[in-house]
C-alpha cells in the first residue's frame, strides 16, 4: 500500500467553501450566483476523480492540515472507502444543483442565496467527513453538516419549518454531544490515538465491557445513521425544500451517518475485535428492528416525502446490518449500498419535487393517473422504486444479493427472514404508487393531459434513474473499490 502526501483532499473540501463566499457576494446576480454553484460542483467532482487512479491501485492519499492539540489532528486520508462516498456525493451534487435551480426558480422561493451558501457548506463538510483520517476530524465535519443543514431545513421560516428544524438540531446535535463526544474521549483515553487503522485501534487496549460501552455510545451518538430510537429527526427534516431532502437527507447527511458507522466499526474497533467479543450480532439485530419497524411506519404515510423518509430510515439500517455481519460479503454489501441507495432514493425525491412543482400535490392519495400527466417523471419513480425493492435490473439488487450472502456466511438465518420480510414491505409501500400512477383513473375534475415539470427538474431525475440502472449493469468500479476495503479490513 503506497502512501501519497498531497493536499488535493484539502482542496476538494475547500472548493465549495470558497464557492460559499462567492455565492454570498453575488447574491444580486442570480445567474452568476448559480454559476458558482455549478462550477464548484464540477471542480469538486474533478478533484475527487483525479484522486481515483491512485486509490484504485490501493494507494492512500494523506494530508495533515492542523494539529489542534497533541493527538487531536485535523487530517485527511483518502482511501477506497472514503472515495466511494466522496464520488457519490460530489457527482450527485452536480445533478442536484441543476435540479435545485429548476425547483427553486419554478416555486419562486425566498432566501435563495442563503440556500445555495448552506448547500455548498454542507457539501464541503461531506467531503471532509469522507476524507477524515481520524475520529476527531470526522466529528468536526459531522457537526458542520448538522449546523449548515439546519438553515436549509428551516428554510421556509414558517412555524412548522422552524419547529421541524429545531427537532432536527436537537436530535443531531444532542446525540452527538451526549454520546458521540464521550465515545471519542473514551477511545482517546484507551487507544491513545484517534487515527483510523484498517485493523482497528481498540483491539487489546480496552476491556470487553468498555468496548461494548464505547460501541453503544458511537451507535447511539451517530444519529445521522437513522437508527431507532433516534430517527425522528429525518421525518422532521422533510419540511425542507425538496432538493435538500434529495441530496442531503437521502445522500449526504444520512450517508455520512452510515459511513461514520462503517468507518468506526471497521477502523476503530476492527472486524476481529467485534467478532471476538460477539458484539456484531447485537448490532445486527438492533439494525433489523429498525429495518422492519421503519418499513411498517412507511406503509402508514400518505405524504409522499414522509413515506420516502421512513423508507430511508429502513434502508440506512441495511448498511449498518450488513457491516455488523462482519463477513466479506456483508461488508461489500454495506459499502455498495451507500452508493446504490443514494442513486435510487435521490431519484424518488426528485420525483416528489417534480410532482410538487408541476401539480402542487404532496399526498400519495392524490396521485391516481398521474403517470399519464407526467410519464417521464413517473417512469423515473418506477426505476427508483424497483431499486429500493431490489428487483433486477436495478442497482438495489446487487447490494441485497451480497447482503443475503453475508447473512449466510455469518450463519445468521433470522437475518435472511428479515431481508425477505423487508423486501415484501418495500414492495407493499412502493408498488401501489406505481400502480395508481399508471393504471388508476385520475380523480374526477382533473385534466388527464400532459403536464410535465420544467426540463431542469425532469432531466436530473432521468439521469439519476439511469445511474441506478447503470449500477446494475456496470458495478465494476464500485465493486473494485469495495474489494480493496474488504481485503484490508478482514
Amino acid at each position: 500500500m503506497s502512501i501519497i502526501e498531497s493536499a488535493v483532499p484539502l482542496y476538494a473540501v475547500l472548493v465549495s467553501l470558497l464557492a460559499t463566499v462567492l455565492i454570498g457576494l453575488s447574491g444580486r446576480y442570480p445567474n452568476v450566483r448559480e454559476t458558482w454553484t455549478i462550477s464548484a460542483a464540477l471542480v469538486k467532482f474533478g478533484l475527487v476523480v483525479s484522486m481515483l487512479p491512485a486509490v484504485m491501485k490501493g494507494g492512500v492519499i494523506q494530508y495533515n492540515a492542523v494539529s489542534v492539540l497533541p493527538g487531536l489532528n485535523i487530517a485527511f486520508r483518502v482511501d477506497s472507502l472514503g472515495i466511494i462516498l466522496a464520488l457519490t456525493a460530489s457527482f450527485l451534487w452536480i445533478i442536484t444543483s441543476l435540479y435545485a435551480i429548476g425547483y427553486m426558480r419554478s416555486l419562486e422561493e425566498h432566501a435563495q442565496t442563503r440556500f445555495y451558501m448552506c448547500f455548498a457548506v454542507a457539501l464541503s463538510a461531506t467531503m471532509g467527513a469522507a476524507f477524515s483520517a481520524n475520529v476527531f476530524t470526522l466529528f468536526i465535519f459531522y457537526e458542520i453538516i448538522t449546523v449548515s443543514t439546519y438553515a436549509l431545513v428551516a428554510h421556509d421560516e414558517t412555524p412548522e419549518a422552524v419547529s421541524g428544524a429545531r427537532r432536527y438540531l436537537t436530535y443531531l446535535l444532542g446525540t452527538s454531544i451526549i454520546f458521540f463526544l464521550p465515545a471519542m474521549v473514551l477511545t482517546y483515553i484507551y487507544a491513545g490515538t484517534l487515527d483510523f487503522h484498517s485493523q482497528g485501534i481498540l483491539a487489546g487496549k480496552a476491556p470487553a465491557v468498555m468496548v461494548a460501552i464505547i460501541l453503544l455510545l458511537y451507535i447511539v451518538g451517530i444519529a445521522k445513521a437513522g437508527m431507532m430510537p433516534f430517527h425522528l429527526w429525518l421525518p422532521s427534516a422533510m419540511v425542507a425544500p425538496t432538493p435538500v431532502s434529495a441530496l442531503l437527507h437521502a445522500v449526504a447527511v444520512v450517508k455520512v451517518g452510515v459511513f461514520s458507522v462503517v468507518r468506526i466499526v471497521l477502523y476503530v474497533f476492527g472486524v476481529d475485535l467485534l467478532a471476538g467479543v460477539g458484539l456484531g450480532v447485537y448490532l445486527a439485530y438492533f439494525a433489523c428492528l429498525t429495518i422492519i419497524v421503519a418499513s411498517i411506519m412507511a406503509l402508514r404515510q400518505d405524504n409522499l416525502k414522509l413515506r420516502l423518509a421512513y423508507s430511508t430510515v429502513s434502508q440506512l439500517s441495511y448498511v449498518v446490518l450488513a457491516v455488523a455481519l462482519l463477513t466479506p460479503s456483508g461488508i461489500t454489501s454495506s459499502i455498495m449500498h451507500i452508493t446504490i441507495h443514494a442513486f435510487g432514493k435521490i431519484t424518488l425525491f426528485f420525483v416528489a419535487g417534480a410532482i410538487y412543482v408541476a401539480t402542487h400535490k404532496k399526498y400519495i392519495s392524490q396521485l391516481n393517473g398521474i403517470g399519464r400527466q407526467m410519464p417521464f417523471t413517473m417512469s423515473g419513480f418506477t426505476v427508483g422504486a424497483l431499486s429500493m425493492i431490489a428487483v433486477p435490473p436495478v442497482g438495489g439488487f446487487v447490494s441485497k444479493w451480497y447482503l443475503a450472502m453475508g447473512a449466510v456466511e455469518a450463519h445468521m438465518l433470522p437475518v435472511l427472514i428479515v431481508i425477505a420480510a423487508s423486501t415484501l414491505l418495500n414492495a407493499a409501500y412502493f408498488l401501489p404508487i406505481v400502480y395508481a400512477a399508471f393504471f388508476k383513473e385520475p380523480l374526477p375534475g382533473e385534466s388527464p393531459g400532459f403536464q410535465e415539470a420544467p426540463a431542469l427538474v425532469v432531466a436530473p431525475l432521468m439521469l439519476t434513474a439511469a445511474g441506478a440502472l447503470a449500477l446494475f449493469f456496470w458495478p465494476a468500479l464500485l465493486l473494485d473499490l469495495t474489494r480493496t476495503v474488504v481485503s484490508l479490513v478482514t
Binding site: R33, V68, E108, H110, R114, I177, I189
Partner: protein, 519 residues
C-alpha cells in the same frame, strides 16, 4: 528596562488614572486617548513579561528594593503571565470599544471620570495577578471592587444603582472574609509573602486555625468569582452596567478571582492539604462546581434579557473553572486555565455584540434580536462564533477546554462529571439557539413581507424586500470581530496557550504525584 516591567504594569495605569480626569478637563476627547494609550502600553508590557517568563521561567521584583518577606515582592511565573496577558488584552479591547459606546451611554461631563475609574479597575486586576504577597492581593482586590461598584453605578438605568449597591454589600462581605482568613494565616506564621507562607505552613496545614483560614479565604473568593450559590450579585451587576463594563468585567474580573483562588489553593496551600485529611476539601469544591455548572445553565435558559442570560451563563462557566482545578490533575488544571482564556474571549465577544445592539437599538431583550442577522450582519456573525464557542463546538476555543475537562474527569475516576459537562453543553445550546433562531430565522417586527414564496424567480436577488444593514460603528466593530476571531484562532491553534497552561499547571502541582486513579 525589562526588570522593571512588573512594577510598570501597575504604576503606569495607576498614574494615568490620576491624570485622566485632568486631561479630560482640557478636552474630553483626551481622556479616551489616555485610557487607550495606557491600556495598550499595559498590553505590550504584559506580552513582554510573558516573553520573559517563557525564557526565564519565573521573574521577581522587590518593591523599593526591600528583601522579602519584609518587603513586598512581585512574582510572575507561567500562571500569572498567562492570566496577565488575558486581562491586559481585554482591557485594551474594552478601551477601544469604549469610544463610541461610552459616548452614547454616559453623560459627557462624567466620561473623564469613567476612564479614570476604568484604569483603576484594570490596575487592581493586574495588581492581584502580579503580586506575590497575600495582603497585597487583598488591597488590589479592594481597589478593583470599589472601582467596579462605581463603574456599574454609571449604567444608563436607575436599576444600576441598586445593582451596584447590592454588589457593594455582598462584595464587602466577601472581602472581609478574605481579610479575616489572611489574619489567621498571619497570626499563625507571622508572614504575608506567599512563598514564605508555604514554607512556614509546612507541617501545620491541618491545625484548626490554618484550615479555618482556608475556608474563610475560599468563601470570600467564592463570592468574588460568583461561585453558585454565592452568585446573586452578578446577574444584575452585569445586566445594568454600561455595555463596555459588562464585557470587560465578565471577561476579566471573575477570571482574576479564579486566579487568586488557584494561587491560594496550590501556592499557599497544597494538593496534599486539599485531598487528604478529614476535610476532603476538593470533593466539596467539586460538588459546588458541578451544581454551579448545571444551575448556571438552567437559570440562563429562564432569562428573557440577553445580558442577564449571558450573566447567568457566566455563573455556569465559573463552575467549569473550579471543576478543573478541583480535579487535582495536570489535565484538569490545564482545562481550567484554558477555560479562563476561553471564557474571557467568548463571553467578551458576546457582551461586546450585545453592547453594539444596545448602541444601535437600545434593546436588550432576546425577542429584540429578531431579524438582526440582516440589520447587523457582521456583529451577528461574531455573536454566532461566541455562541458556538460557548456550546463547545470543535474548532472553537470552547471545545479545547471542555475536552481537557472531560479527559481529566475520566483520568481521575470522576467520570460522572462527563455527563455534567455534556448536559450543560446541551443546555447552553438550548439558550443560545433561541437567540440564533431570532437572529437568522425570524423576521424583524414589521418585516413579515420578507419571507415565503413569491419573490420572483431569483429569490432574494434584485428588488427583494429587506432591511438595510446598519452595523455598529468601526470603533466597536473592530474589537468585537478581533475577539471573536481569536475564539477561532485558539480553537484551531490551541498548542501555544495549552503549552503555557501545562507549564503553569506543572509548577502548581509540583512534586505531587496525583490522586490514585481507580479505574
Amino acid at each position: 528596562m525589562n526588570k522593571e516591567l512588573p512594577i510598570l504594569i501597575i504604576v503606569v495605569p495607576l498614574l494615568a488614572a490620576v491624570l485622566t480626569p485632568l486631561l479630560g478637563k482640557l478636552r474630553r476627547e483626551l481622556s479616551w486617548w489616555a485610557a487607550l494609550l495606557t491600556t495598550s502600553a499595559c498590553f505590550v508590557f504584559s506580552v513582554l513579561i510573558l516573553q520573559d517568563v517563557l525564557r526565564e521561567g519565573k521573574i521577581t521584583y522587590w518593591l523599593g528594593g526591600w528583601r522579602p518577606p519584609l518587603g513586598i515582592e512581585y512574582v510572575i511565573d507561567y500562571l500569572n503571565a498567562f492570566v496577565l496577558v488575558i486581562v491586559a488584552f481585554m482591557a485594551f479591547i474594552g478601551a477601544v470599544y469604549a469610544r463610541s459606546s461610552v459616548e452614547q451611554e454616559i453623560d459627557g461631563h462624567r466620561t473623564p471620570f469613567f476612564y479614570a475609574v476604568y484604569l483603576l479597575f484594570i490596575t487592581g486586576l493586574m495588581g492581584i495577578v502580579v503580586t506575590g504577597d497575600i495582603f497585597n492581593i487583598y488591597v488590589f482586590l479592594e481597589i478593583t471592587s470599589i472601582a467596579g461598584y462605581a463603574l456599574i453605578a454609571m449604567g444608563r438605568r436607575r436599576e444600576a444603582l441598586v445593582a451596584s449597591f447590592n454588589y457593594l454589600i455582598v462584595g464587602t462581605i466577601g472581602a472581609t472574609l478574605f481579610l479575616l482568613g489572611i489574619g489567621y494565616l498571619y497570626l499563625v506564621t507571622g508572614t504575608l509573602n506567599i512563598a514564605d507562607l508555604a514554607l512556614r505552613l509546612e507541617g501545620i496545614y491541618h491545625t484548626r486555625a490554618v484550615a479555618t483560614a482556608f475556608v474563610l479565604i475560599t468563601v470570600g473568593l467564592g463570592i468574588k468569582i460568583a461561585l453558585f450559590p454565592m452568585h446573586a450579585w452578578l446577574p444584575n451587576s452585569y445586566a445594568f452596567a454600561p455595555s463596555v463594563i459588562s464585557a470587560v468585567m465578565a471577561a476579566t474580573a471573575t477570571k482574576v478571582g479564579a486566579y487568586a483562588l488557584i494561587r491560594i489553593m496550590f501556592s499557599v496551600y497544597n494538593p496534599e492539604f486539599l485531598t487528604a485529611g478529614a476535610y476532603n476539601i476538593n470533593y466539596i469544591l467539586l460538588a459546588f462546581s458541578g451544581v454551579a455548572i448545571l444551575a448556571g445553565s438552567i437559570l440562563a435558559i429562564a432569562q428573557k434579557d440577553i445580558k442577564k442570560m449571558l450573566a447567568y451563563s457566566s455563573v455556569g462557566q465559573v463552575g467549569y473553572i473550579v471543576l478543573g482545578v478541583s480535579l487535582m490533575s495536570l489535565t484538569g488544571i490545564v482545562g481550567s486555565l484554558m477555560h479562563i482564556l476561553n471564557h474571557a474571549l467568548m463571553k467578551g465577544s458576546l457582551f461586546l455584540v450585545v453592547g453594539a445592539v444596545v448602541y444601535r437599538t437600545g434593546i436588550t431583550s432576546i425577542e429584540g434580536f429578531k431579524g438582526m442577522g440582516k440589520k447587523m450582519p457582521v456583529s451577528m456573525a461574531a455573536f454566532t462564533i461566541g455562541a458556538l464557542s460557548m456550546i463547545g463546538v470543535p474548532l472553537t476555543v470552547g471545545f479545547v477546554s471542555k475536552w481537557y475537562l472531560a479527559v481529566a474527569s475520566i483520568e481521575t475516576g470522576m467520570w460522572f462529571f462527563v455527563p455534567v459537562i455534556l448536559v450543560s453543553s446541551l443546555l447552553t445550546a438550548v439558550y443560545f439557539w433561541r437567540v440564533i433562531d431570532n437572529i437568522y430565522f425570524k423576521p424583524a417586527e414589521g418585516d413579515e413581507a420578507g419571507r415565503g414564496r413569491g419573490h420572483g424567480v431569483y429569490g432574494d436577488a434584485p428588488g427583494a424586500p429587506g432591511v438595510k444593514a446598519a452595523d455598529a460603528p468601526p470603533w466597536m466593530l473592530a474589537p468585537t470581530v478581533a475577539v471573536a476571531l481569536l475564539c477561532l484562532v485558539f480553537g484551531v491553534y490551541a498548542s501555544f496557550p495549552v503549552d503555557v497552561a501545562e507549564k503553569a499547571a506543572g509548577i502548581l502541582l509540583g512534586e505531587w504525584g496525583g490522586l490514585h486513579v481507580n479505574n
